[in-house]
């Protein structure tokens, strides 16, 4: 009896461990439009592949066993086939469980990922007029805009693409079209790259009203004691000091 109970407990915890590894592990999968947040999505998806069957561009795939993406769930690889943002969103409509939310009515509102640009390999940053990503973007001139950066003579001025998270759906048409060997613009999950400005920053160009009392910073918490900084204070003392003195001498 005790042996059976311990076998059951052992089997159960192994099972729970496998589930934790599979369903709750971080993964970089780009999900179809309207997908719930990753954890909820993994709980809700029944892995039936109806979204895959209904995608007219063969964009979507179901993760097979052994991939890093949770088993059986739909995803796509934009560099292979991006999402072409169908207006009627057939994949989301096909979902029987609501893992792809039926509340998504306009494809422009979907957030499958966010395009990010590698400045080192983007040829626009090298001074070439490329702008392909800007031209192919389905959310034309909103998700990707071009900024003009004049430079010194002898160097071509730069026309660099800038992605705006307010409008980028993460469809990946830009990644597919990017002419570099490995795409210099890539779609990743937004939470992997997006930071967050603190709420206490006042953006002067957005706050057109008067600066009044309510813009006052909230009272600071009392600090108990200033702890000494961990790193070298190389401005005033430490090894760099000696070096500078040495140079002067």
């Amino acid at each position: 009896m005790a042996r059976n109970a311990s076998l059951v407990a052992g089997g159960g915890s192994l099972w729970a461990y496998l589930l934790n590894q599979q369903a709750h592990a971080n993964n970089n999968a780009i999900r179809p439009p309207g997908a719930l947040a990753e954890k909820d999505f993994n709980a809700a998806c029944i892995k039936c592949g109806q979204c895959v069957t209904d995608c007219p561009y063969n964009t979507l795939k179901l993760a097979t066993t052994g991939e890093s993406i949770p088993i059986g769930t739909p995803y796509y690889t934009p560099r292979d086939v991006p999402c072409y943002m169908c207006e009627d969103i057939p994949c989301t409509r096909a979902c029987p469980t609501g893992a792809l939310s039926p509340d998504l009515n306009k494809i422009e509102d979907s957030r499958m990922g966010l395009a990010v640009i590698d400045m080192e390999s983007c040829i626009s940053y090298l001074g070439l007029r490329c702008e392909i990503c800007h031209r192919v973007c389905p959310v034309q001139n909103k998700a990707i805009t071009i900024e003009h950066h004049p430079r010194k003579t002898s160097k071509h001025s730069m026309f660099i693409p800038v992605v705006h998270s307010s409008d980028c759906t993460g469809c990946g048409v830009c990644e597919k079209a990017c002419p570099t060997d490995e795409a210099a613009i890539k779609v990743v999950k937004a939470e992997m790259v997006q930071g967050k400005v603190g709420e206490h920053y006042r953006l002067g160009w957005k706050n057109t009203g008067e600066i009044t009392q309510k813009f006052k910073a909230p009272p600071r918490k009392k600090q108990t004691k200033n702890k000494p900084a961990g790193g070298l204070d190389y401005f005033n003392n430490g090894s760099n000091d000696e070096l500078i003195e040495g140079e002067i001498k």
Binding site: A43, I46, K61, T64, T65, P96
Partner: protein
């Protein structure tokens, strides 16, 4: 066919000079003899052939709808896979066990999956829950193959497990769904892995299926389907009330045990209980029809519950009255 068997049996018995063994009904016990001609053999294999056609046909319909654009009235014939699907773009279907797990995992379900699960559950309430196991489930083909090899190679069990273990696994998969917040069995189900990867692209899932094949072949007879699978356990509960049953004609049964030898769930062939109510009543019966074709006396056949039950109730009453007379 029975005459054919009879003549062979009698001649064999005479040749051996043995006394004929008699069954509880006083008739000689005749073993099942595989007929010689191909067409007669086909008749013995008929349910197996129907089952394979259905199992493979459904997979083919899914595959064709997904990859070759098979459609009727401009709608894909069968879209999705066995976890959840849509027939002709109208009738939703969903695995009720998977749906239950997703619900327990804490997700508010969309109406179409609920309707789909109810549709499928209703079908199995009518046909017998474990009709899924022997007529639809693709893993059944793998475990049947393992069983076939096991019989030919005469492999003995190396492990003893109670068949009730599957109910424990059923409870565990529901409990773990609640605790972990994901559909616990659906995430590791080799059944889902098999049909999903056959329809939507093959990964490393075959490792699981090879494991099941080897387990069934070397470790435990009918190990996966008959002892472990929580989905089968789920449908076994649904199968208790199904109107389609294997009927049992007690007066003709000689207890030759041919049916028990071929049955993947031999515990359902409880002759005492079956004799009382005239049918195989356990929900664990998969309605595969193996027993029907090997029975030399035609004792077993597919029948409807109410047809079998009503006269039997009457005869049971008679038995009771006779007994009471004896007592008085």
């Amino acid at each position: 066919m029975s005459e054919f068997n009879q003549s062979i049996d009698q001649s064999q018995a005479k040749a051996a000079g043995e006394k004929l063994k008699l069954g509880p009904n006083g008739k000689p016990v005749r073993p099942f003899v595989m007929p010689k001609t191909f067409w007669e053999k086909l008749k013995v294999w008929r349910y197996m052939i129907y089952r394979r056609i259905l199992q493979l046909g459904i997979l083919l319909l899914f595959f064709g709808s997904a990859h070759w654009g098979w459609s009727l009235f401009n709608k894909p014939i069968l879209r999705g896979n066995l976890s959840s699907s849509e027939f002709l773009g109208v009738i939703p279907m969903a695995d009720p066990f998977a749906t239950l797990q997703i619900f327990l995992a804490g997700h508010v379900l969309h109406s179409s999956v609920i309707i789909g699960a109810l549709v499928v559950f209703a079908v199995y309430l009518l046909l017998g829950g474990r009709v899924w196991c022997s007529w639809i489930c693709p893993v059944n083909m793998i475990t049947d193959l393992a069983g076939w090899f096991r019989k030919r190679l005469n492999i003995k069990d190396t492990l003893r497990v109670r068949r009730n273990l599957r109910y424990l696994l059923l409870i565990m998969s529901l409990a773990l769904s609640i605790i972990m917040g994901v559909a616990a069995f659906e995430w590791i189900s080799p059944i889902s892995i098999l049909h999903r990867e056959l329809i939507f692209g093959i990964g490393a899932g075959w490792v699981f299926l090879l494991a099941i094949f080897l387990f069934d072949l070397f470790v435990l007879k009918h190990g996966w389907c008959g002892h472990l699978c929580p989905l089968g356990a789920f449908y076994a509960i649904a199968g208790k009330v199904a109107p389609i049953r294997i009927s049992f004609d007690k007066p003709t049964c000689t207890h030759c045990l041919e049916c028990v030898h071929v049955c993947p769930e031999p515990q359902v062939l409880d002759f005492k209980r079956a004799g009382e109510i005239g049918m195989i009543s356990s929900g664990e019966c998969t309605n595969c029809g193996r027993c029907i074709t090997v029975c030399p006396e035609n004792t077993l056949k597919f029948d409807l519950r109410h047809k079998v039950q009503s006269p039997q109730k009457f005869s049971k009453l008679k038995v009771v009255s006779q007994n009471s007379q004896k007592i008085s």
